[in-house]
């Protein structure tokens, strides 16, 4: 039966929803105004930006966006190089962690093996025990191993536990084992079943985690700042540019850089927001 799209609300509900609408609209409007502010000022000259009202349209429109790719430079890296670093860090920051989490959660969810309870315990500890002081030892370990500004950092990119473990374990538990049985009958082994039967069913969920991980890594400045400062990402570059230039910063150029940098993550979210919302569901911690 087709469900009516029109939602009928009572008078009390209408008042409640109107109030909620106003609150949501105010919050959303502030974000839009902020973006409008950045985009509008990214078309000004640096002098005009300083001497005129920030909420005034540019008297002389300037295309600062082409300058982003030629003049924006941090620690010897131009915008394109920083872009490459960002893509590299985003891919390496999301894919190894995602694959190891998928494999670990699958084994936990579908196999009974010695140490299974320990795996759950490790996950629980990692979720409930916050150890902020370990950042120092982590950094020292990286330095001692010579992984600072070195590709060896990739060893630290694997994950396996945390919130995604819970979500994926729940997902694997929900898949009908009949698929695996059919593959067994056709002569498939454990590896074939995992890679060719189970993983393909999780593609949309893994895709969402990849997107969120990619966006998160794309915007992460702290990792590059501490561990790979010689290879600045765009997120770090933006901070560094602002910190180094201080009051002499070419703000419209900086704003143009912010806009260009925001495009990839915004585009990904716009394209996949429905899928993300359908897929993301945090379960409980009970195991």
């Amino acid at each position: 039966m087709a469900r009516s799209n029109k939602i009928k609300r009572t008078k009390g509900e209408k008042i409640l929803f109107t109030i909620a609408f106003i609150i949501l609209a105010i919050f959303s409007a502030t974000y839009l105004v902020a973006f409008f502010f950045v985009i509008m000022n990214s078309f000004k000259g640096s002098i005009e930006y300083l001497i005129t009202s920030r909420f005034q349209f540019p008297k002389e429109w300037r295309w600062n966006y082409s300058r982003v790719f030629t003049e924006f430079e941090v620690n010897g890296s131009g915008y394109f190089r920083m872009c490459f670093h960002s893509i590299w860090f985003s891919l390496t920051g999301s894919i190894p962690a995602l694959l190891s989490t998928a494999a670990c959660s699958y084994a936990y969810a579908r196999y009974k093996f010695p140490g299974r309870k320990i795996i759950f315990l490790i996950n629980l500890i990692m979720l409930t025990l916050s150890l902020p002081g370990s950042q120092v030892a982590y950094y020292k370990l990286f330095c001692d191993l010579g992984w600072k500004n070195n590709i060896g950092y990739l060893w630290g990119c694997f994950g396996g536990f945390g919130g995604q473990f819970i979500i994926l374990a729940g997902f694997w538990k929900g898949i009908d084992w009949a698929y695996a049985e059919a593959a067994y009958i056709d002569g498939g082994n454990e590896w074939t079943i995992f890679t060719k039967v189970m993983l393909p069913q999780a593609v949309s969920m893994l895709g969402v985690f990849f997107l969120l991980g990619f966006i998160n890594s794309w915007n992460n400045h702290e990792f590059t700042m501490l561990y790979m400062p010689k290879y600045p990402s765009i997120a770090f570059g933006l901070y560094e540019y602002q910190a180094k230039t201080g009051r002499s910063m070419d703000t419209p150029l900086y704003f143009a850089g912010l806009v260009v940098t925001s495009i990839p993550s915004l585009t990904l979210y716009v394209l996949f927001q429905d899928t993300i919302l359908r897929t993301v569901n945090v379960g409980g911690l009970k195991g």
């Binding site: 919050f27 502010f37 009202s53 196999y111 990692m126 120092v136 370990l141 409980g284």
Partner: protein, 321 residues
Amino acid sequence: MILSKPLFRKRTGAIRIENGIKHGNPVFAWILILPAFLTWLVFWLYVNYRSIILSFQTTDPITNEYVWTLQHYKWVVESFFETSSGSSGLLAICLRNTLTYFFTNYFIIQTCNVILAYFLYKKIAGYRAFRFLLYLPNLLAGATMATIYKQLVAYNGPIVDLFMNLGWIEGPIRPQWLADERYAMTLSVIYSLWLGVGGTMIYSLGAMSRVPHEVIEAAQLDGITPFKEFVFIIIPLISQTLITLYVLGVAGFLSAGGATLFLTAGNYNTQTLSFWIWWQIYTGGSTGTSSALGICMTLVTLPVTLLVRWIGNKITPEVTF
């Protein structure tokens, strides 16, 4: 909706399956687990072990060798108390700021997120646009929104202009709020509030979208009000998600913070405990005191987290649907 776990047992040749879990072949299971387990061993277990050791060690300035000491813990404890000049200790300020962020993020923002998610779930007018716009700050580099905010509240920014026009600020000196100890922290918290709405909303909304429509329809046929629907149906059905979010929030309650680096770089009494540790690493400060502070933070956080988790598990039903 299933309120209890159904047990079923199935045998297919040599493969025994109970509750959907396969028995046998532990080698393959461990091969899959190995990358995650090794990462955990090195980057969590060993790192935390080193962290504990570091907190008890210092370098002898003469022999340049490590010696055991309690001086880091002594410094941490002393830094929570007033200095000889009568001002608050450095870490006392950090703790106060951390707790301010925690209460803002945990109680105000998280609760607002759940409530607003309900309205989006009920498809309020423009819900698709709101859903996108409210999540927008989470999609951008930290520098982006922080820079915009700094420009908005700057001494020559539009908000100061507005306040001066309204007569709320008397000139001629324009205030630099983010560079003033009296206002910097308040403005940093306002920034967190401004951008926090929408952050964890995605999880609440995701959980709500999985609530069976039949349950809602049945309740609506009985004339349920939105308030009762939210309190008596939605909240219990998404309780597992909420408990997880709140337990995770408590687990990090002493690590709470805002955009300190971008807004003030920790100046003007805006440092938090986690920022202080991070800043020590970045600037090459004392590793021993940072580790000692981290250990103290963990010792305080752990029992609180376990208590919240225990209470959460006691009061929430185990619901699957």
